[in-house]
């Protein structure tokens, strides 16, 4: 029997050793070895509860292993391996360390059995993810990273507040089904749906992911939102608002994706759309709905990573990231393998039969149909059309083919297939997309509930093909309207970006002015106090002369005599200035005071003498 360890710790310990291994080949082997060890570890983990520790009278559980957590654990470790392979050419060890911590904390969330452990890993996840964005080292990435971390800290605070209220109310920190209703559950739900990018809390995703590094975006696309789907499936199955939010989210993401010009931003909006299916399935809450959600999360991680790998390869090779910069350059001639692998991911996300999206997405749609929710069903269907239209038709057409804008002469760009490790990682991911599409049983067997769904029933296949082929026909007809447009789209991040700038202006102009005013006032007061303290005896006289000067100054102004009396005023002014310059001189004051004292003593003596003689 092999002793297993919490998979989160494998990655976290790996993150410590990663910078120490200076030998490049050894380091590369190590990067692939750690996910492999974690996968073997997962295979040996039996269902049950492990690694519990006492902490402040509460029991922390690092390993709650059941079918739900295992299913997510498998796919997280698989994509960790593929993502590491994709990033193998990189020489930035900082980014790899961040990725390891990010993966480790996600696995920590997945196997957490209590709310405290969940929260701790949840925060490590947010903080390590932001370094994958900052490593891009552009100003846009820096700013987007700050917005990312602020949104996630807000979500984390909501989660923590909810957890504390929940623990106080129930006395238990067990992480499991949470009854919907009441402040605690609402706050916890808010924390979860911010990470799941549910509108209106979704803008961080489309804002930050396209600014991340080419390799970092692959990891980002897999972990944060899907771990949010996991915790939602664990705690809030069957919560009806989630079903509606999910359905709206699926269409919302698609609509924005169609307007976008940045190729990775298109894909980022499609994450929102696809996570909409999962959130919707969780909200439906039937066995079919939950199974569909989890299966779709599994498949989504694979094809979405592949989509990000494909577009990332284009950015890596050409340095360009917008459809308007890429269209008409005929990249398909220079990178056909990359294009083919991208299209496999495109077919998968669109739900083309034989690819993995087909076997998972349609489960969620079928779950909506089973409970006869017409609007939900139609929304999800419409989102399917939009997904196919923008990821598989519009985006590749604009990126690899497309027409150059009329009258514009594009300079030649040198492009070639991406490095071998990128292509191998993409090939393996594409293989898994097709493999799970062809043998859905492999996936269905690890789902939490028994699956009674036959994706390849002939009528399913035919209606899916009809839907997709006629979408393609409509695309064909409107192809001239679907070129890139060099714009950005307003989204809910407007609400913190524009007012944020107003706040910045408020600080940098009026408040800064007030600060300077106050500061100079105090400085003047201190300078005056210093100069006056040099000769304290003259202070009353200076004050009187100052007031006198001010008064007659005003008076002459008011009476219109200012011009005539200018000489007199100047004279007074110069005398005041001279007096202020006078320093304290002992001799000036000693004689009069000494004389006074002598006089007083003499008089006192005389008085005493008279008193003594007369009264005697």
């Amino acid at each position: 029997m092999i002793e297993t360890v919490p998979p989160a710790f494998i990655f976290m310990v790996g993150a410590i050793f990663l910078p120490i291994l200076r030998e490049r080949r050894l380091n590369q082997v190590f990067q692939l070895l750690i996910p492999a060890i974690a996968f073997i570890d997962l295979l040996y983990m039996d269902q049950g509860t492990y690694w519990s520790y006492q902490f402040l009278g509460y029991e922390l559980i690092f390993g709650r292993v059941d079918k739900l957590s295992l299913c997510f654990g498998y796919i997280f470790v698989i994509i960790a391996f593929l993502g590491m392979a994709y990033a193998l050419h990189m020489r930035e060890v900082g980014q790899q360390v961040a990725a390891f911590l990010y993966i480790g904390s996600t696995l920590g969330v997945t196997f957490a059995g209590d709310l405290f452990t969940l929260f701790a890993f949840w925060e490590i996840m947010a903080i390590s993810a932001v370094f994958l964005i900052w490593h891009q080292r552009t100003e846009a990435a820096l700013n987007a990273g700050f917005r990312y971390i602020m949104v996630h800290i807000f979500g984390g605070c909501a989660l923590l507040a909810g957890i504390i209220i929940h623990v106080v109310n129930t006395g238990s920190i067990h992480f499991g089904y949470i009854e919907y209703g009441g402040l605690a559950s609402l706050l916890i739900l808010l924390g979860f749906i911010i990470s799941a990018a549910v509108p209106p809390f979704h803008a961080w995703l489309a804002d930050a992911y396209p600014e991340a590094t080419v390799t970092g975006a692959v990891f980002l696309s897999a972990f944060t939102t899907k771990s949010a789907v996991y915790v939602l499936a664990r705690s809030f199955p069957g919560v009806e608002p989630l079903m509606w939010l999910g359905a709206i989210m699926a269409v919302y993401g698609v609509v924005y994706a169609l307007m976008e010009n940045d190729i990775r931003r298109v894909l980022a909006y499609h994450i929102i759309s696809q996570v909409g299916y999962m959130v919707c399935g969780v909200g439906i809450g039937t066995e079919m709905g939950l199974n569909g959600s989890i299966a779709h999360a599994f498949c989504h991680i694979l094809y979405k990573a592949l989509l990000f790998m494909g577009t990332g390869a284009v950015i890596h090779v050409t340095g360009k990231r917008k459809i308007t910069e890429l269209q008409g350059r005929n990249l398909y001639k220079m990178m056909p393998i990359c294009l083919s692998l991208y299209l496999i991911a495109g077919f998968s996300i669109s739900g083309v039969p034989l690819f993995n999206g087909f076997i998972s997405k349609n489960m969620v749609v079928a779950a909506a149909a089973e409970i006869h929710r017409v609007p939900v069903y139609l929304f999800l269907h419409l989102a399917s059309i939009g997904t196919f239209l923008s990821t598989t038709l519009k985006l590749p057409y604009g990126t690899w083919f497309g027409k150059a804008p009329e009258g514009e002469n594009l300079e030649e760009i040198e492009a070639e297939e991406p490095p071998l490790n990128m292509l191998i990682a993409m090939g393996l991911t594409a293989f898994l997309c097709i493999f799970t599409g062809l043998y859905p049983r492999v996936l269905y067997d690890i789902l939490p509930y028994a699956v009674d769904y036959h994706p390849y029933a002939p009528s399913h296949v035919v209606v899916s093909m009809q839907l997709l082929l006629f979408t393609a026909a409509a695309f064909w007809l409107s192809i001239d309207k679907l070129g890139g447009e060099a714009t950005i789209s307003l989204d809910t991040d407007w609400f913190y970006r524009k007012p944020g700038m107003l706040l910045l202006w408020l600080f940098s102009h009026p408040l800064q002015g007030l600060r300077f005013g106050l500061q100079s006032l105090f400085t003047r007061m201190v300078t005056n106090a210093i100069s006056l303290s040099k000769n304290p005896i003259l202070v009353p006289e200076i004050a009187i002369r100052y007031i006198h000067l001010m008064v007659i100054n005003r008076l002459y102004h008011a009476l219109g005599l200012y011009e005539d009396k200018l000489d007199e005023l100047r004279e007074l002014q110069s005398r005041l200035a001279a007096m202020r310059k006078m320093t304290y001189d002992n001799d000036v004051y000693r004689r009069p005071i000494g004389l006074g004292v002598l006089l007083a003593l003499t008089l006192l003596f005389v008085y005493g003498l008279i008193y003594f003689i007369v009264l005697r």
């Binding site: 059309i385 239209l389 009528s459 009809q466 695309f475």
Partner: protein, 71 residues
């Protein structure tokens, strides 16, 4: 290549409609699933709706110049 692709596409469209006429869904949940080629119609109209809708929303309201936030 492009020409071949076009023929394959057209054949696919014809075939999917033709087979769809004979293969009815076993457990229809909604009434429109009984209409022949309903999914095809939905796909075509849905796609047009999305394109037109997005262009309208984008051009009238949401799409801005790229340096909108940096001004």
């Amino acid at each position: 290549m492009a020409r071949a692709l076009r023929y394959i596409f057209l054949i696919g469209i014809g075939l999917s409609i033709l087979v769809g006429l004979f293969l009815r869904p076993e457990h229809p949940h909604f009434w429109w699933e009984r209409i022949p080629a309903s999914e095809a119609i939905f796909g075509f109209l849905g796609c047009i709706l999305l394109v037109v809708g997005c262009k309208f929303l984008g051009h009238r309201w949401l799409q801005r110049y790229e340096d909108y936030y940096s001004d």
